[in-house]
């Protein structure tokens, strides 16, 4: 240490510890291969995708085209690369939408987002940038694409087609099946008799007995899916599986008629609908009477399409 004036200037440089040197020696071969790998990737790219001259392109035009993966590449003259990106993204997105609501669907949609981000990053990243700068740019690009493209898309699509996976058997629908729910349907129209709907069952905490005669406490809550059988003001009678509305026989049935009590008779109050919770097993007549009248506000949307399994793909009737 040397003192110059009032300031001490250390003239001995910092040294790497033996451990640091060992660590660097281990990583040195990997670092040495990095340029060779980059060169090989560059050659591969040139041989498969050809050389690229972006020419005179407008930055704003490129940014606008980042909404769809591959489009900016096509615009910049990297047509083959753009088509590959667009094709892969389309397949992943299509598969993800087809399997929406399942784990596979989530995986495919995630990969589609990754391809989209990769497409944007190819043009957003500067080769000369440091690792940290690249990381930050990549994170920002991901956030921007998710916020500007996917979140609005999910919100919009979710208004008319929210995938819901069934957690219990409901007549023709089984556990694991996926259906689409139109949540905006009843914002513009009233629910109709016969509609299959997703609704929040009226909460009930009841004591009673099971069919086998045991004491039981029934705590009922949460979303359910079933058919609207009658609307406000109508008098219904359900007897031995036959439904009569205002004395007239109705062909409508709940999703799972086998799980309902033998008889039921009531009048639907104002601003409510009759929906028998047929997917709940072992509900007594007393319990069903408590929860089958569903206020309008508890109906969330119309269930109209089944996507899984693929063998049952189509309109639910």
């Amino acid at each position: 240490m040397v003192h110059a004036g009032s300031v001490a200037i250390d003239v001995h440089p910092p040294r790497a510890s033996a451990r640091a040197k060992r660590w660097r020696r281990h990583w040195q071969p990997l670092r040495a291969w990095k340029p060779a790998l980059a060169q090989a990737a560059h050659r591969l790219e040139r041989s498969f995708l050809g050389s690229w001259d972006p020419g005179d392109v407008s930055e704003s035009a490129v940014i606008q085209r980042m909404v769809i993966p591959g489009w900016p590449q096509i615009y910049c003259g990297r047509v083959l690369r753009g088509r590959i990106l667009l094709g892969v993204w389309s397949m992943l997105l299509g598969g993800g939408l087809l399997y929406a609501g399942t784990s596979l669907g989530s995986l495919l949609l995630g990969m589609a987002v990754s391809v989209h981000v990769a497409s944007a990053l190819e043009l957003a990243l500067d080769e000369g940038a440091s690792a940290m700068e690249r990381l930050v740019r990549a994170a920002l690009t991901l956030v921007l694409i998710v916020c500007l493209v996917y979140l609005p898309a999910v919100w919009l699509i979710g208004r008319v087609a929210t995938p819901r996976q069934l957690l219990a058997d409901s007549g023709p629908l089984n556990i694991g099946d996926v259906v689409l729910v139109n949540r905006s349907m009843y914002a513009v129209a009233e629910p109709e008799i016969g509609d299959l709907v997703l609704y929040e069952i009226p909460e009930a905490d009841l004591t009673g007995r099971t069919d086998a005669g045991y004491n039981a406490r029934f705590l009922i809550r949460g979303p359910r899916m079933d058919r609207i059988l009658a609307q406000a003001g109508q008098q219904i009678t359900y007897d031995q599986g036959r439904l009569t509305v205002n004395g007239v026989a109705s062909s409508l049935r709940p999703l799972n008629p086998g799980h309902l009590p033998a008889s039921l008779s009531l009048t639907v109050p104002a601003d409510s609908y009759l929906i028998l919770p047929s997917s709940d097993h072992n509900l007594t007549e007393q319990v069903i009477r408590e929860v089958c009248i569903v206020p309008r506000s508890r109906i969330e949307g119309q269930v109209y399409w089944q996507t899984q399994p693929l063998s049952a793909f189509g309109v639910i009737r």
Binding site: A4, G5, I9, P13, A16
Partner: protein
Amino acid sequence: MPRFTKLELQTSVSAEAASNLTPRVETGSTAWMQRADQSRRSGSYEGALQFFSRALEDDKTLVRAWVGQVQMLIMLGEHPEAEVWSRKALELFPAEGDLHAARAQALVRLQRTKEAFASVDAAMSQPGQSAYRWTVRGELLLAGRQSTERHCFDKALQTDGDWLVPVNIALIYLEYRQPSNALNRARTGTERDPGAAYAWYVQGVCQAELGLDGPSAKSLRTCLELSPGHRDAEDRLQALRQGGSLWKRVRGVWSR
């Protein structure tokens, strides 16, 4: 001198005392610098680093010693430390082109290419020229896989006729696994000064990397003739006698 404006020297020292002090300091630091240069030219970077530090203990205004320290740290593979040290030296001598170049070299070895280019640009914008600046510029281009690196290296050779310049370029090529280019530069070094043992050593290393065991042994023997105690050359020669490194021998067995 503007380059020393950041140093806080004692202002209370009289002019006479300062004039008496200056020659004594220069004498000591000059001796250390000479020893550092000798060590460096023999490939003993650790020793050279210590001598540069001793020189700075005597005279901390020796920019060449600061640059030498950073260069030795880079040669010893201590790139993060070299970058830190170059930054510190630049706080003292912000207008020194060679210090900017040294920092650029440390940065490019750390793969911080963008900052390295900024540093080398700063180095080139400083007044004067040096072979080292052109050498570092060439290394940056080499790291960026640009073929124009050769022009920078040629410019470095034109700027300075010292045999150490082509040898340093050869070492850079070796760092980037281009032994063929390295050998060409090492040959220039031995041609410039056939009495430079270290140049022969580097040439031997390049030849060994290319699998030219015979010529490599010959170069290393020449190095040992010129510098009988050259430890690295002895080790290399011994390895060649045993059929190369362990990995090379394994590959030899595999290819039989």
